[in-house]
């Protein structure tokens, strides 16, 4: 531990971008392209990474993660494709209804929770609907490095077959399309039979599809670690909340996009910290009183300590009142 632990945000850095293109692909899916506002290059990334897009929806902050579908080697433009979800929390609707070319937005550095296993002798991609997006980047990466892959892509109808034409034209031998409205389904049993050792399967699609693949693979004797799947959980900075700092004799409000630690620092309170990532224990703070629910996002507290203590660098609170010993 140095004498100068650095006061910086420990999360994914943000990039100021301008929307450079909005391309409606079909009735449900629109592609959005971004360029950096400062003229610099985007960071390159590993295929399967996503970026989190910040949206200001009439005063409500939304953060939605979207897979980067652009070629990872393309550092001039980032591209995402968003499927409009009329029943969702509003993020995709905001994108479809409000975002136009020239708009200024903020997105995060890429984060990858669904990366290629570079040891694999062969990669099998199973996509359902909008789940095609991470595979667009993966295919670009593997084509560049001469990796072996094949895609099995299930879509509702020809009209809603996002990127089907592009994929089947560019890679006729490796792309298989299955149209729901023609009762075409991926023959998973056949697909899982006869693959060489060292094959990895990646599935991105509805929850049901993911479960079906895991179960079928297990029944066919595949190790579960050979099946990779991604389910998006939207990151929460969370709602703003008020905290009474008993020692400092202040009541502060923690904004939506700052941590409790950052809010204290902003208010001039000298709170201890080190890793700013929930793992080192340095910022551990006693809870004096609380009426509400804690959102513990750290890797430090034991289960019995939760609620009696809080880690301000990553954890939050929802409720009527919170008093802590700072």
């Amino acid at each position: 531990m140095s004498a100068a632990p650095q006061k910086v945000k420990a999360g994914a850095e943000k990039i100021d971008v301008t929307v450079s293109a909005v391309v409606q692909l079909n009735e449900l899916v629109t592609r959005f392209e971004f360029k950096r506002r400062d003229g610099k290059r985007f960071p390159t990334f590993s295929a399967g990474a996503h970026t989190v897009v910040y949206m200001n929806d009439g005063g409500t902050q939304r953060l939605n993660p979207y897979s980067l579908m652009s070629d990872p080697a393309d550092t001039e433009t980032y591209a995402i494709s968003v499927r409009r979800d009329d029943q969702g929390r509003g993020g995709s609707l905001f994108m479809h209804n409000n975002v136009k070319v020239g708009d200024k937005m903020e997105i995060t550095y890429p984060v990858n929770l669904f990366s290629l296993d570079l040891r694999a002798k062969k990669h099998v991609f199973l996509a359902g609907g909008i789940g095609i997006t991470p595979f667009m980047a993966m295919i670009a990466q593997l084509e560049r490095s001469n990796g072996h892959w094949e895609l099995h892509y299930s879509v509702r109808t020809k009209a809603l077959g996002t990127y089907v034409d592009q994929l089947t034209t560019t890679h006729p031998n490796k792309v298989n399309i299955y149209y729901d409205d023609q009762s075409q389904t991926i023959d998973l049993g056949k697909l899982l039979d006869g693959q060489p050792l060292g094959t990895k399967v990646y599935v991105c699609g509805p929850k049901g599809m993911i479960e079906w693949v895991h179960k079928s693979a297990a029944a066919a004797g595949w190790p579960d670690t050979s099946i990779h799947s991604e389910e998006f959980t939207a990151p929460q900075p969370g709602k703003a909340f008020e905290v009474r700092l008993c020692k400092s004799n202040k009541t502060i409000t923690v904004g939506e996009n700052e941590s409790l630690l950052e809010a204290m620092e902003r208010e001039g309170v000298d709170a201890p910290f080190l890793c700013r990532g929930g793992a080192c224990g340095q910022c551990e703070t006693d809870v004096i009183k609380s009426d509400g629910e804690f959102i513990h996002r750290d890797h430090w507290l034991e289960p019995e300590e939760q609620g009696k203590k809080i880690m301000p660098c990553v954890s939050r609170f929802i409720g009527n009142s919170l008093e802590i010993d700072r």
């Binding site: 002798k121 693959q195 060489p196 050792l197 060292g198 066919a220 004797g221 190790p223 670690t225 050979s226």
Partner: protein
């Protein structure tokens, strides 16, 4: 029953289980010496497994080969040593498919070497079942000359390649299929403690 209860140790030390039948279209079973007993136990849990099984057995003096043959596996091989069997194993793994179940049983040396070869062929180690039976002798790598000394049963022991006196560590490498041996008298040359049998 020749199962040994290994004392609890550090995180890199392999821990063995008990073989159980798992779904798969092909079962590759590799064993030496008393490992045959575990195969017989496995077959009792599910006799249908053998119709799609390939048993590779290194008897090392045991007489259990005939009982394994009597299980009527789809393929059966008996060999004098792992080294002799190695090219066959490599060939089998080269054309094996995902959905192959692997069962390794017998000495740590046999299990370790077979595990290493299966991992190199593309299987995750967590998917490979292991059960220890028989001798508790270890394969040791001399960290100084990199030579492997087989069947080590005492601590300390002499490296069979460079002759240094080495103490036995529990630190284990799957890639090398060996435990680590380190010079015991570097700081006091010649002062080599009495050999003690492992686990005594």
């Amino acid at each position: 029953m020749s199962k040994f209860q290994f004392p609890e140790s550090i995180q890199s030390r392999p821990v063995y289980g008990t073989l159980e039948p798992r779904p798969g279209k092909y079962h590759l079973i590799i064993a030496d010496a008393e490992g045959a007993e575990a195969i017989l136990d496995l077959s009792e849990q599910d006799a249908t497994l053998m119709a799609n099984a390939h048993i590779i057995y290194i008897p090392k003096g045991s007489k259990l080969g005939d009982r394994l043959k009597a299980l009527r596996p789809a393929q059966y091989y008996e060999g004098p040593s792992y080294q002799a069997a190695a090219s066959r194993i490599e060939r089998v793994l080269a054309s094996a498919h995902m959905g192959t179940q692997i069962y390794l049983t017998g000495t740590e040396g046999l299990i370790g070497q077979a595990m290493r070869d299966c991992i190199n062929a593309g299987l995750p180690h967590t998917a490979i079942q292991t059960e220890h039976r028989g001798s508790v002798a270890r394969r040791m790598q001399c960290v100084h000359c990199k030579g492997i000394t087989e069947d080590v049963i005492t601590d300390p022991f002499e490296c069979s390649h460079c002759g240094l006196n080495l103490f036995v560590r529990d630190h284990y490498s799957r890639r090398l299929a060996a435990f680590q041996g380190v010079c015991i008298d570097a700081e006091d040359p010649g002062n080599v403690p009495e050999k003690v049998e492992l686990y005594k």
